[in-house]
Symmetry: C2
């Protein structure tokens, strides 16, 4: 709760200095045109670039590109035709090209990587952080990969190979090897002097200087903003804060949980022995969180690996298996109906009402399921409070079951004028909504306990339960009470 910095504005009122990044008016117009108000690339900008490419107008192209940041150029690539995309590549300097490649969607990235000469790519990779560079190398075809690695300086190549040695989706793959570390006996002044002297070799951005012991184990971290505001003679050991060490083999989902929990900006990554080997920064984590929640949302609906292979055949194939499993469960549920075929033949109205109970169970169950899956992901559902949540969900399921028993009972009386049918559908509703709540919470808990992703197959199991229980309770009660 500090610092109304109006005094600073005051200080500056008399002097008006032209800054270096001031751009001429023409470029500002392009900047306004390039991006929408929400910083999304303006679709109208695409034909301008395509046109300049077609005319081979390098100067116009440079102006157009200068209004875009690498992330925008990556978006632009997504809208360009493949030949235009290829033509654009030579117009990007190695640093920009590296950043653009890091941002591209997998599908387009593969296409672009094919068309970048190995030497250019090697240079671009050298400009990237080691984690991003390793990601790109990992995506290359085997031949190209060998060529590119051969074209890189020894140190950079070794860094990439080490990173690729860690398992996918672990801290080791997520981290960058570039860190700033200082021994604990250094003072703030010594540290700053060292940074200034070494400024060429430093990571582009960093948020903490890790304080290490003689064995290169992190013992604390000095946030750069603390370094800036502390007197030069204060020892680092005095201003450093405790660090949250990330083991190099930790799963990225756990890393994201820790960053989110402690609001970390960066954290040191350590080898099993405790030696500092790299750092993870929060901007990598934002990507992971989005990726993991995305996986949850898609897995819940039986879509896996979206975007990996986005051809029509690829999509068809990837969804086929989930649908096949669903067909199996639908047939299973239908065989429950088949048991009561004789009853339906006598009273066709049962076939009309039959899907309602099952459908309500499916919907109520997925409500519970969605809550349980997210609570597991955010660690709000644990062994310690599982019983409380099971009780809460089943009680809510039972109450809604009773509510809809009344509602559907009334509808049935009004529709078919048979009170007994109303009683039957009401009872079936209570049974199925209760079963839906129990299954909605127990299925993801059981999957999680057994080490599976609770989102992945939970819906199939759930709807199998709610369909079978729904059909069986409604038709069974009808057979029992009507004939």
């Amino acid at each position: 709760m500090s610092r109304e910095s109006d005094d600073l504005a005051e200080l500056d009122k008399t002097s008006r200095i032209q800054t270096q990044n001031q751009t001429p008016a023409a470029d500002e117009d392009l900047e306004d045109l390039a991006l929408g108000e929400d910083y999304a690339l303006n679709p109208e900008y695409v034909p301008l670039v395509a046109d300049a490419l077609d005319r081979g107008d390098a100067e116009r192209l440079r102006d157009l590109l200068s209004a875009l940041r690498p992330e925008d150029i990556a978006d632009l690539m997504g809208f360009l035709s493949p030949p235009d995309r290829e033509e654009l590549i030579p117009h990007l300097d190695p640093e920009t090209l590296g950043e653009v490649i890091a941002e591209l969607d997998t599908e387009i990235r593969e296409d672009v990587l094919e068309h970048v000469p190995s030497a250019t790519l090697a240079k671009a990779l050298g400009e990237m952080e080691s984690d991003d560079a390793a990601d790109v190398v990992d995506d290359l075809e085997e031949d190209k990969r060998a060529q590119v690695l051969a074209a890189m300086p020894e140190v950079e190549r070794a860094a990439i190979e080490t990173t690729l040695g860690y398992e996918e989706e672990t801290a080791g793959r997520l981290m960058q090897r570039e860190v700033v570390a200082a021994p604990q006996f250094w003072s703030v002044g010594q540290t700053i002097d060292h940074l200034r002297a070494d400024s060429e070799d430093l990571p582009e951005l960093f948020f903490d200087v890790y304080v290490v012991d003689p064995a290169y184990k992190p013992v604390g971290a000095a946030p750069v903003s603390h370094l800036l505001r502390t007197r030069r003679d204060v020892p680092l050991a005095q201003i450093m804060e405790p660090v949250t060490e990330i083991p190099v083999g930790m799963d990225q989902e756990e890393v994201a949980y820790i960053f989110n929990k402690y609001h970390l900006i960066s954290a040191p990554v350590v080898e099993p022995g405790g030696r500092l080997v790299g750092q993870i920064t929060v901007d990598d984590i934002v990507g992971v969180i989005q990726e993991e929640t995305e996986e949850d949302i898609l897995a819940l609906h039986g879509v896996s690996d979206a975007g990996r292979d986005a051809s029509i055949l690829g999509i068809t194939r990837s969804r086929f298996w989930w649908l096949l499993v669903n067909l199996g469960t639908a047939i299973l549920a239908s065989s429950v109906i088949a048991i009561f075929q004789g009853v339906i033949a006598k009273l066709a109205v049962l076939a009309v009402l039959n899907p309602i109970v099952a459908s309500m169970g499916g919907n109520a169950g997925t409500q519970t399921l969605a809550v349980a899956v997210r609570a597991l992901a955010t660690r709000e559902l644990t062994a310690a409070n599982a019983w409380r949540i099971i009780w809460r969900e089943t009680a809510a399921g039972l109450l809604n079951g009773l509510a809809f028993a009344v509602v559907m009972g009334l509808v049935t009386v009004l529709w078919f004028h048979t009170p007994m049918m109303a009683v039957i559908i009401g009872l079936a509703m209570v049974i199925n909504l209760f079963a839906a709540a129990v299954a909605g919470i127990l299925i993801p808990l059981a999957l999680d306990r057994m080490g599976y992703d609770p989102a992945q197959s939970a819906v199939v199991f759930l709807t199998t339960v709610t369909d079978c229980v729904g059909f069986f309770s409604f038709l069974g009660l009808a057979a029992l009470l009507l004939f």
Copy 2:
């Protein structure tokens, strides 16, 4: 790709300095016990705290709490009984209490806020960042709010009231008013000197010094790591980078999109006139991203405002309305079956097979829907590429329709030995999976175009379409071809 800092470790090999934060062995044992390997609170730690509370053992309690960070204490509160929770509060100093309150789940937070004396709460709020403090004040009952605000110093109260003046879920609510700004004519050295002199008034952590013009409009940002490594005589204007300004009224989902797109760590927030009024940092964004994706995942399943009111009655009520809408659509679908009641009476096997086509359509449609909703959220689905994605999805839907026509046709022949029935169910499958794909993509697109949240009610519309089309095509074809 830089800085193998072994030289630093080397430098330190001879000297072994005892650091200040070195903790005695006993406390380290507690720390090991407190948290699991994944930094989640160990459930076994809870009874230890409860026990110390019951015995009124303040010293033991201090030891136990010192092994926890505020985020862990917030987790602990979730596991304690309400009376234990109340008793714990006086053992926390204002700064810790503030941080704990900021981390609590809504439900528990409301309970805790009731039991913290207004004066203590006012002190705790003073230690928090303005955005977090405003959130807490927003949650207070009216009486308590007035008391707490009255107990705060004028400046802090004004800051909170200004923040609460902005609409919920906008940049204004998300930002902290604490920023570090410097005029563009300052040198690096001047800036550092100023920060050191003013260190009391600075935000706890900051990542950028915003460079402002005389009207206090941001013209650039100097990352603190750049300040640290640049010579003292270099002017700020020379090392500053372009900033991405966030308008104070921007929706938090858009803010998150921008942070994610450009990998921002912090960004200045400006008033409509362009004046700097605060900053948003990436740790706030991590929360927003999780919240927004969470909303999507729950909205897709008809769960709204999860956790807001987590009592059994509250949950029952919040889910009731969605289920009621679903009941309406289920009855609508059943009335399609009712049209064909006569046909079913003649051939009950139709009632057995009838749910299968509808169920497959629902599942295939939600696959498409989940992809479309996420693509809209991440701006991968735009007006420019909508047609390509519509084509891709409907083609995939048609292909899977054909595939399952064959599979289900074979199953039907094997099960009921009626080839004509196999033809009917196959045709219905193709029709419904095609309809599912079209509806799965067009419904969220239309909702989005009309300014609604595409996740919110899409599933209801979708399953209405797939149920009705499924029942009608199967039973209609049967009526046409069998009798």
